[in-house]
């Protein structure tokens, strides 16, 4: 493991973030604020408390997750898609570096950005609803693991995509529905029993539930199941990336 390539990739990616600061930080913050205004204040005031938590506060972890997932995927996928698209990926492929170094550089940068964004959204949320975080360390851990895992997923999508349309397809068709149906805005025991069972096949349910547990100590599924699920996801993504670099899938003719 050599630190220089990792640092070079990481810094270059962070620099790219700085160039696109407005779209990468400001727009998610604005859209989250809108969610709070609509769901938290306008509609939320007519919804009962869930598990002793006001509805406005209840949706905070889910909203952060929603942003975390979509931002991680889109940042990381764009980060690797662009060099592939422009051809400058030749340098990455001819460099004396292992896939792990490439992943740490790209995914590390995308995840850093997502975590910072998550914290900014959390701070924004506190302006709308008063709340406390019960288990801050677990909260950060969930935040970090989710950001890393979904940045890896984004990285895979960026390599797989051979056009801008596909780059947007997965977040739009997969991530957003899974998150909306993943208990961001409701507790899954508000669903009919059949749909509660179906929901358990949605990985995002575990993320949102675990994350919410770190805030309020309430969860849909056990916290251990949540953690195990994220770790499983992380390993699957890592193995996929290792396979991609070993076979040159969509990277090398």
């Amino acid at each position: 493991m050599n630190v220089y390539p990792v640092r070079a990739i990481y810094m270059a990616e962070m620099m790219r973030t700085r160039r696109t600061l407005l779209q990468s930080v400001v727009s998610p913050v604005i859209s989250t604020s809108l969610y709070f205004v609509v769901f938290g204040a306008a509609i939320g005031s007519r919804i009962d408390e869930i598990g002793g938590v006001s509805y406005g506060a209840f949706i905070v972890p889910g909203l952060i997750m929603l942003m975390l997932l979509t931002q991680s995927v889109s940042n990381a996928s764009f980060g690797i898609f662009f060099p592939k698209f422009s051809g400058s990926i030749y340098e990455l492929l001819s460099a004396p570096i292992s896939f792990l170094e490439i992943v740490i550089g790209y995914v590390g940068a995308a995840a850093t950005k997502s975590v910072v964004l998550g914290l900014i959204i959390l701070a924004t949320a506190r302006l709308f609803v008063p709340m406390e975080v019960a288990h801050p360390v677990w909260m950060l851990l969930f935040l970090l693991l989710t950001a890393v895992t979904f940045s890896m997923l984004g990285f895979i999508i960026g390599i797989w995509a051979d056009g801008f349309d596909k780059l947007q397809l997965v977040p739009l068709l997969v991530i957003t529905p899974l998150t909306f149906l993943g208990g961001s805005f409701y507790s899954i025991d508000m669903l009919p029993p059949f749909w509660q069972g179906v929901t358990l096949f949605n990985p995002v349910v575990y993320l949102v539930s675990g994350f919410r547990w770190s805030f309020y100590g309430i969860s849909d599924v056990s916290m251990v199941a949540s953690l195990a699920m994220i770790l499983l996801f992380l390993l699957v993504c890592l193995a996929t990336i290792a396979w991609i670099f070993r076979t040159g899938y969509r990277l090398k003719p």
Partner: protein, 312 residues
Amino acid sequence: MSDSIIRIEGLSKTFAGGFQALRQVDLSIQRGEIFALLGPNGAGKTTLISAVCGLVSPTQGTVWVDGFDNVKAYRAARERIGLVPQELTNEAFETVWNTVSFSRGLFGKPPNPKHIERVLRSLTLWEKRNNRLITLSGGMKRRVLIAKALSHEPRILFLDEPTAGVDVELRREMWNVVRELRDQGVTIILTTHYIEEAEEMADRIGVINHGEIVLVEEKNVLIEKLGRKQLTVQLFEPLEALPPELATFALIQNEAGDELIYSYESAIQKAGDGGISALLGALNKAGVGVKDLHTRQSSLEDIFVDLVKERA
């Protein structure tokens, strides 16, 4: 070969569509030489370079770089190589300085602003170091790619058509940069469509066509071995038919009949028919009035065109 820095053995590449771009290529590059790889469009030059640098997975064969297998020991192999690709590819919004420094880091080297400065100056990019790449001209962008390849002090430099789209003056400057690198011990492999460039720069020349190496030779030997000299004899009066005295010479007459073209070996000078002096003597004897004479040595370009045509 004793001191080859790159050894390619049995390298083949068949692309996913079934197209075979490389066929059993064997090639050794000598340490410290400038090797020019020539071949028509689509011959497989870029594919060959890509396979050595790890951009294309070969279907068959092995490449050793300074003794290291470029797949099994890819780190050791790749850190020795700098690659300047044929296509202009750039991160448009980066500055020259950042992108060149990035390349150095990517190849595992600690930062060294002094070295980056040297490289940028040698390529006359120093003034542009804070410019974004998008604001540079095509020739400058190509030089940035060269700077990136040199940023990590490679021992081997691949230049895939380095001077395409570069103006004449700059081309000469780049040749000088390449020679300086060679003097520092860097091995250089370049592809080019400007034969003049190969003639000017290369120590050895390889010709590839349809994915096969059809020839590898020292440049000088190549020119001597294949190079023919031509003597053109301009006559005062057109000849209706060749006089019998000239029958033994392999002469070609132009259409007007007032020029005779005589080809002979430049190096060997012992043409079976007696060479130039015999021809001139025969002309004299036949009473053919000679207006003017000129000779021409065929260039590498002629040789190249012949080779590729022959094997097509």
